[in-house]
Symmetry: C2
Subunit: 413 residues, 2 copies
């Protein structure tokens, strides 16, 4: 940085300072444990790809948001835009991967979004997908993974809405709407969540759908039931423990590439809204340049989850610091006693921080512990050393006790 | 990808497929546990920074290797080149962070290296640093972290070489060499590891160092001892458990920015060579655009460690797959039994994969388990179901037993 420049991150990019990382690490390790309990294994792909791998897949709008540039060797390259295109490349590049290939991937993706909408330009995607089978058990497993993930994170009040693209297409056809209008009609149905039927009716009329067709459409939406395939997905999902799975014929999901079941999860308490989206996409891997393999999966809104836990202070007991106890240094002459205690506690698998400077007043050392949210402070003054004791201060309650060093472990865990 | 393009990663960039990720995840979690046991907390910074933050810090050679480009808003930006410049920016951007600030950071950095030397262009850096104190206890702690890290990874045959820039400068002056030649003389001393004294002597002569000065230099190198400050670092390090710390006056470390103690670790068995490098750098944070804060730290060669563990198969017992047992499906009619068993085992905290397709022959399901390195297979055929049993096959030994479902947990752990 030149001296007249304010040191700063780029707009839409974030530093994760230790307190924030504590939440993210806990969220990610919780999710990984659930994913792995279903046999999903981790995949990571590079930050940079050939531009040709990224472009021509999701249309011009997406391409405008991509970070594309030439590297110093003149190659056209780009930053990852999502985790699905790299998955398609991986399936093509390693044809011998055993199938079904069940992977999760938690990595940053990059989009030059308008930051005024408080969107991140570098954001974490968290995707779980099964590639290479059309079995409804794989769709069901995704629902069970979502359910177990939310429960493990402490969100118990949620609904997993499920529907099927096939059901939607069928009822559009049954209403007498020409099939070339299916996608635009889907876009209108998608708005029934937020708009009244009257408003959606007006929109459909503007798309040259007749009143009779609209009336029939709403009628069939009202009495829609899961078809045999979706019913099987729901039944299996419930059998393997998925909670709050609910058929919802109004669910559309914006993306055109879904071919079968579609899912979306809404967390009602706390009012987070939609935090997962997914479904079956049997053509997409091929469309993206991969082999012709069916797939089903979901994305989980990791950044949103972390932000909500932080903003609403949902995990007040999560330690802000990895350090359980800080050993202060009373004076330069007593440094050795503090060193020995730190070493002894560490061999008992306690995370210990040693205040490094023996020339700093005890008061300032306590302030440091407090600023970092370290829950316990050990003080080794001349009196304590003489009696082979330690003063242990609980920084939450302010209580302090003189105890033998052997008692520290049981007191602080 | 256009249809005529071979799907591929960019040169110097890597996919980490699940088997590789298993090793990396274990290495990283082992290191994190050690770092946190000393009170180091995790920091993450963005992939992209303002180009101005990155450039003008490490000279032209480094800049040639940087990925610099203009984003779609016309801003000059660049991919992280290391983790030290972002640390300096963080220290400047958040002046109220409690100090000493002890952080570790494990993230990719990007350098357009010549890939013929089998260097990665996206590689993981793993840095541990203490910012804001000159206390020798902080230098010592870095040595203890290195020692504990290597032991925890299973490398017990290593030497942590330590020296001090001050000692080197002092003996150069004592040999009568003008101080403006200190850095170039250091570069020659650095080669004593690989070259003979005669060769280094010739090199020094070509730098206009006299024979007498060279003779004195070698003499003082031979009888060099740690000064008081370095001795304190070594003494404290040993007291808090650092093993195999050895004073080595020939250690120089290439980088110009070290101001005090310098460290390097060589692993002798397996013959990995140098895998950590670090030291005290009391001026660097300021030079890089941050505030005037002393610092000490080390980098650990994470990619090298992971590559060696993989190439030499040092962790043969590390599971290749997160899945402990796969539940096969004997036939469509017995799907429900397999579903129930998978759900029941998962509630016992066992990582279970369900083979998703009931129409695939058992033989192929077993091959899938074998290809993925899943250690146990559970078979639920009509006979087993009738007797409320499960056939459990150990894929390593080939043994199979008919047992009650309740016994699975104890058999596979």
């Amino acid at each position: 940085m030149s001296s007249n420049m304010q040191p700063q991150t780029l707009k839409g990019f974030r530093d994760f300072l230790p307190e924030t990382m504590a939440i993210r690490t806990r969220v990610i390790s919780t999710l990984k444990a659930v994913f792995e309990s279903y046999g999903f294994a981790e995949l990571q792909t590079p930050t940079l790809e050939y531009a040709e791998v990224l472009t021509g897949k999701y249309g011009e709008e997406a391409e405008k948001l991509m970070y594309l540039f030439k590297d110093s060797g003149g190659r056209a390259v780009g930053l990852k835009y999502d985790l699905t295109v790299p998955l398609a490349r991986v399936m093509a590049q390693y044809p011998n991967l055993p199938k079904p290939f069940k992977r999760y991937q938690i990595q940053p993706a990059f989009r030059a979004e308008n930051t005024q909408k408080s969107r991140y330009r570098e954001f974490y995607q968290c995707d779980i997908d099964t590639v290479g089978t059309t079995s409804p058990a794989s769709d069901a497993e995704i629902l069970a993974v979502i359910s177990d993930s939310l429960k493990a994170l402490g969100f118990s009040d949620f609904t997993i809405r499920v529907n099927s693209r096939q059901i939607l297409f069928d009822l559009i056809i049954k209403s007498g709407i020409p099939s070339n209008k299916s996608l635009t009609v889907l876009q209108s149905i998608d708005k029934l969540d937020k708009k009244s039927r009257e408003e959606v009716q007006l929109e459909l009329e503007s798309k040259q759908i007749t009143s009779l067709q609209i009336k029939d459409l709403f009628y069939y939406l009202d009495k829609a039931q899961p078809d045999a395939q979706l019913q099987e997905v729901i039944t299996i999902a419930k059998k393997i423990g998925a909670k709050n799975v609910k058929f919802d014929p109004n669910l559309v999901r914006g993306l055109d590439y879904y071919t079968g079941a579609i899912f979306e999860t809404v967390v009602e308490k706390p009012k987070i809204g939609s935090i997962t989206g997914g479904g079956r996409y049997d053509q997409l891997i091929k469309t993206l340049g991969g082999p012709d393999l069916p797939a089903v999966g979901t994305t989980i809104g990791l950044d949103r989850i972390c932000d909500v836990i932080s903003e609403l202070n949902l995990w007040p007991d999560l330690p802000k610091s990895p350090t359980r106890v800080i050993i202060t240094i009373f004076s330069p002459g007593l440094l050795n006693n503090s060193l020995s205690l730190s070493q002894s506690l560490r061999t008992q698998n306690i995370n210990v921080e040693l205040y490094p400077n023996p020339n700093v007043k005890l008061d300032k050392q306590l302030k440091y512990a407090s600023a970092k949210g370290i829950p316990f402070v050990a003080i080794l003054g001349p009196e304590e050393v003489e009696k082979n004791q330690v003063t242990l201060k609980n920084m939450t309650t302010g209580d302090q006790v003189k105890i033998s060093p052997d008692e520290i472990q049981s007191r602080i865990s």
